[in-house]
């Protein structure tokens, strides 16, 4: 029993570091499938953190959230993405604007920035600085992926990373929002992805490519 408690505590306290590793991995990955796997890994780390918190606080709501996360974000969404990749038959490349080296540099810069931003708040509200910095850098990385990757699928993944960051911010500062609200948010995210998937098919059918940066008929 004591071992389990120590393990849960360690999971909660070290997950921030692992999350930052996934950020760097996302920056270097050149293939869509790698990015999807890294996203799945990232969600798994967050799920572990929720489960660890649930165990330590012995809260049933948190267990429910962990279960939802596991089903949707660790299994469901990555699976759906792989299905989309297979169906859309697009190339494997993420079509990045920046080279992997530049991406890593920018992402590490974002981690530094998040630490700097978080410092003044983390002390005031008494939450671990690392976890909050990880959350903010996930948000920034998600936004970065959305502007620096031209393929529609990877932009969707960027949005999910951003959402993961927001979820983590809620988790570390307030142990998450009430369960029913979390469920609603997750529902919206899933529907949003479904719609983006529909639009990805439509983009491929009307334009015969998935490069969103080449959609520029509407201007001004």
């Amino acid at each position: 029993m004591e071992f389990a408690e120590v393990a849960a505590g360690k999971v909660v306290s070290t997950s921030a570091v692992f999350l930052m590793m996934t950020i760097v991995l996302l920056a270097v990955s050149r293939r869509v499938s790698t990015s999807i796997l890294v996203f799945g890994l990232q969600s798994a780390i967050i799920t572990a953190q929720v489960a660890g918190t649930a165990f330590l606080e012995s809260s049933r709501e948190a267990w429910a959230v962990a279960g939802l996360l596991f089903v949707f974000k660790v299994l469901g969404i990555p699976y759906a993405f792989f299905w989309l990749v297979a169906k859309l038959k697009s190339s494997r490349d993420v079509q990045a604007v920046t080279s992997p080296a530049q991406s890593v540099f920018l992402v590490v810069l974002m981690i530094f920035v998040s630490y700097a931003v978080v410092r003044s708040y983390a002390f005031g509200i008494r939450v671990p600085e690392d976890a909050l910095a990880a959350a903010v850098s996930l948000i920034l990385t998600g936004a970065f992926l959305m502007v620096s990757r031209k393929k529609a699928l990877v932009q969707m993944l960027g949005l999910l990373v951003l959402e993961n960051g927001i979820f983590l911010a809620a988790l570390t500062t307030t142990f998450g929002m009430p369960l029913i609200i979390e469920m609603g948010i997750l529902f919206d995210v899933v529907i949003g992805l479904l719609l983006m998937g529909i639009f990805a098919f439509r983009i491929r059918d009307t334009f015969e490519h998935l490069d969103v940066s080449r959609l520029r008929k509407l201007r001004g």
């Binding site: 708040y121 932009q155 951003l162 500062t173 609200i181 983006m196 639009f199 509407l218």
Partner: protein, 483 residues
Amino acid sequence: MLLLLPLLIPLAAAVLVLTFRDRHTANRAALFFCLVETGAIGRLVWRVHTGGNLEGRFLRADGLTSFFLVNIALISIFSLSYATGYLRHMGEGRFASPRWFYALVNVFLFTMVGVCLSANLGVLWIMMEATTLASALLVGFYNTEGAVEAGWKYLVVCTVGIAFALFGTIVFYLAAVKAGMSQASALDWLSLLAGVSQKRFDPNLVRLAFVFILAGYGTKVGFVPMHSWLPDAHAEAPTPVSAMLSAILLNCAMYALLRYEILISRAVGPGFPGELLVFFGLASIVVAGLLILVQRDLKRMLAYSSVEHMGMIAIGMGLGGALGFLGALLHTFNHSVAKSLLFFGAGNVRHNFGTLRMDRVTGMGRSAPLTTAVLAVGILAIVGMPPFSLFVSEFAILSESFSQSRYIVGAVFLVVLSIVFGGVVHHFLRMACGAAQKTPPKPHFTGAEYAVMFAAGVLLLCFGVRVPVSFSALLRDAVAVLQ
């Protein structure tokens, strides 16, 4: 039940309307459900007006809710009546048939009513995000290159924007929890309203929350740096949907922002949120006012005009005071009536001339006199000419800015109004005058289309002369919530 009914009817309608394969039956069913929905909303509004606020766990209604619900009911009747005639050219594609159109419109309606009725800031966010999801397919409904691009852009830009609003919601929740509220009540509107005046919220967190909320919901309102989705979506959507987007969706987003404005101005004083709103409002009217001048597409011009009017409303809200709130609220209503009228007119132009490019349409006055007349009324109203109602609300906002000695705000406002007047009237006259085109237009319009436009014109005129007594009672209730 009173609160739940306006939400259940559109959902039921969305499912039922899918069973009608025939276009005419689908039309009639959609219109019927919309009238039932209006009845339910009317009952709710009447109950709130006579018996005070209705409170539930996740749903509630007060004066502000009623005001926006009346707006939603009116514009959805307009749009659906117009749609019954407008959809006759629509084919029978797999998801592009009238019944799918009506089903999606009803889901869209459900989400917007949900925004107005939500009693919980979390539910508010969920519903706000759902409005994007419900309307994205409507924006991309025609499935052309432009429509797909606009739909994708709309979905991505608004989802990211709304994600920032979620972050803002979390920060505000954190501030509430840190101030000593329980986790269960820290998102609940009524407890928060009591909480912000009794407990001490950390002002830094509250300000941070408002910045994110403003960036997030401001994306949906269409404030200037975040407005990029708006002209595309409005221009590419089917006309009844453009009208709904411009006339009620933007108002709903403004409503979400107002709910926060109320809380945050009580927590840290009205200065901070007010100044930010005025700043974004000024940025929106200046940029949109200049962009109106260079537009070539009629619907895009109308979309930028929506950005401009949302900016005016934000200025009114930011200035506050009796006239500021009153003018801004009245302006949301007036703008939605005028803008739906204009979009319907634009839909007629598209049917008549097969294009919305303003430089390719000439001699409209001769070949399509009724459409021109409708557009003329709408144009005069939207630029704020005196007999019409937008003049009243714009004048109220303007006089509030001068009475607070905010001369720069007032001056910018006036300059933009005159620029927009010049631009819009110039574009319109170029379309209306000149030689009629060689290809004769094909004006086959149903009575419903003209009836709707006529009703909107009459409303604009009536509200310009005198706001009806029943409506001003509604307005007073709404302003009371804001103050």
